[in-house]
């Protein structure tokens, strides 16, 4: 029981400290702004560990963070293999193909208002559908290996990116387009020098949404059949063996990979759209 009470005590102390810190002037500093959520995350872990140990929760229901960490360290090669199979081969290749195709399609239909008026509502509609459901079909078509996962990812990321890119291509103002016209710029010059750069904040918005979708698509598609490696495969088989520490280890890797993927895209966005007010305000 002492574990549980210790954890609760730690939680209360850390929370009081956070409240005290948040209401001081130092809370405006960047370092403090990072420290407060970090401390909150640590208290959650401590509370988790304390609850599991204090109440004696069996490992098949909820393993303690320390046990999960031990599993991660003990099975690094397996986790690395799954990471390569699911994230690098399945999600990343699908993400690149899907986003590339979506941007290309957006540029292609950009010249025809008729197509734009027809595709946008359809795209918006499809973006709200449970597209994950096509996973079994695509697994049937493309086999069990990473190609089918990439195909699922392509379909999942395509519509959000398409809708955002089309919206972005309309973002350049009339005045700016007229300026390009007075300089005698052709369609393609206007596209590359004005409209695509102006569309970048919108495109990156779509790309950031697509990062999460890509990981979800790659992992869920593996529930429908996969070779004997991959994160989705490992999760579904480890659940079957009640090896929940392994499941949590995979989830930790997936969370880390998801955040890193998102962070990477956000970093690229920062360097590409440095001119946009939302980016300038922060620095």
């Amino acid at each position: 029981m002492s574990w549980l009470w210790g954890a609760i005590l730690f939680w209360l102390a850390a929370w009081a400290f956070n409240v005290w810190l948040a209401n001081r002037a130092v809370a405006r500093r960047q370092a403090v702004r990072l420290f407060i959520p970090a401390l909150f995350g640590v208290t959650l872990l401590v509370l988790w560990e304390g609850t599991v140990r204090g109440l004696g929760v069996p490992g098949v229901i909820l393993p303690a963070p320390s046990a999960i960490w031990a599993t991660i360290l003990a099975s690094l090669p397996i986790l690395a293999g799954d990471f390569v199979q699911t994230i690098l081969k399945g999600a990343l290749s699908g993400y690149l193909i899907g986003c590339g195709a979506a941007v290309a399609t957006a540029i292609a239909i950009d010249r025809s208002p008729f197509l734009k008026a027809g595709l946008l509502p359809v795209g918006n509609f499809v973006a709200a559908l449970p597209i994950v459901g096509i996973a079994p079909i695509l697994v049937m078509w493309f086999g069990f290996d990473w190609q089918s996962k990439a195909a699922v990812v392509v379909v999942m990321v395509f519509f959000p990116v398409l809708v955002n890119t089309v919206a972005g291509l309309g973002a350049a103002e009339r005045m700016q387009r007229d300026l390009m016209a007075t300089w005698g710029a052709g369609y393609w010059q206007t596209l590359f020098k004005l409209r695509l750069p102006a569309a970048m904040p919108f495109i990156f918005n779509g790309l950031k949404i697509a990062t999460t979708l890509a990981l979800i698509g790659a992992i869920v598609a593996e529930f429908f059949g996969s070779p004997i490696r991959g994160m989705g495969f490992r999760i579904s088989t480890a659940v079957g063996q009640l090896a929940l520490d392994m499941v949590w280890a995979e989830i930790a890797v997936a969370a880390l990979a998801g955040s890193a993927f998102y962070g990477l895209v956000a970093l690229i966005e920062k360097s590409v759209t440095f001119w946009h007010p939302s980016q300038r305000a922060r620095s």
Binding site: W15, N18, V19, L21, A22, N23, A27, R33, I36, P37, L39, F40, G41, V60, I61, L62, F114, L115, K116, A117, G118, P121, V122, F125, A128, L129, P130, V132, G133, I134, P136, I137, M140, W141, T211, T212, L215, I216, I219, V220, F223, F224, G225, M231, G232, I235, S236, V239, G240, L242, L244, V247, W248, E250, I251, A254, A255, G258, S259, Y262
Partner: protein, 287 residues
């Protein structure tokens, strides 16, 4: 109505492409069958056969429509072969999860807006959690809850709630902060307390944001319910239909379940859209 023609054109193009794909993908099987029987087939025969195979690689649109129609009207609503039965199983989990997730999300957003410490410590995690493939934990939630004796509707609802929770939090925090300084100052001159400010200014101002995120989260909670039905041999629900269809190669069943899910999602989003329009009109927010 002016946009109807382009939309219909695009839909017609999609259906035409689909038929072309049907012929292209299913022709292989026909050719194999013909070669085994030692007969030549003409192109017209290939097309006719591609449209009517029992387990096609890609079922033709009319086959899917037939499957959907049979599934909806061909059996009694309580029968396990009826799509209505499976849709209702999924829908109930979706709605329970959606309501739980939305209420929890609104409560957390209210806490975040009114408490600085909560804002600084919880909000970064709420945003970071959006970058995590949460759906991956669905099978574990199902199995763990089953091992402590909770089965049936609730585990799926938990996943749905979790997925619909974060869009609501993020949208509501934005919405509750939407009133600008001028409006907040005005309420201060009226000597309104925190509570009055919340009920009379912040909550009404957040409604457009709430509905925007409700549309996202209802779609997310349907996905959660469907994925929640995949593992552990669930026997009912649209997700279970997808899985059993993929085990037994019943492509028409997969596509029919898929379209049932799509119609369900569209219907849910549309219902929220109608409620949104009605509410905003009564509040005088529709332009």
């Amino acid at each position: 109505m002016k946009s109807l023609l382009p939309i219909l054109t695009v839909l017609a193009a999609i259906v035409a492409l689909w038929y072309a794909g049907t012929v292209w993908l299913n022709a292989q099987w026909t050719h194999d069958q013909a070669a085994r029987a030692g007969v030549e087939v003409t192109f017209a025969e290939v097309v006719a056969d591609a449209m009517a195979q029992e387990r096609p690689v890609l079922p033709a649109p009319h086959q899917v429509a037939r499957g959907l129609w049979d599934g909806v009207t061909g059996h009694k609503v309580t029968s396990k072969r009826s799509l209505v039965y499976h849709a209702q199983v999924t829908l109930s989990a979706t709605l329970v999860g959606f309501v739980i997730g939305t209420l929890a999300g609104i409560l957390l957003a209210v806490g975040i807006v009114h408490n600085r410490a909560m804002d600084l410590s919880v909000m970064p995690w709420a945003i970071a959690s959006q970058t995590i493939p949460i759906l991956a934990i669905a099978p574990m939630v199902i199995v763990v809850l089953a091992s402590v004796g909770v089965t049936g509707l609730l585990p799926k609802a938990v996943i749905s709630a979790y997925l619909s929770f974060f869009p609501v939090v993020v949208g509501m925090v934005k919405g509750l902060r939407a009133p600008d300084h001028m409006q907040l100052d005005l309420l201060r001159t009226y000597n309104a307390g925190r509570w009055d400010t919340f009920w009379k200014l912040r909550l009404p101002a957040s409604m457009p944001y709430l509905f925007a995120s409700l549309k996202v989260s209802v779609a997310a909670s349907l996905v959660g319910a469907i994925v929640g039905e995949l593992p552990a041999g669930a026997s009912a629900g649209l997700g279970a239909r997808l899985l059993s269809g993929s085990y037994y190669g019943q492509t028409i069943q997969i596509w029919a379940a898929l379209f049932a899910a799509a119609i369900l999602a569209a219907g849910l989003v549309m219902i929220i859209g109608v409620i949104e329009r009605g509410t905003l009109r009564r509040m005088g927010m529709v332009r």
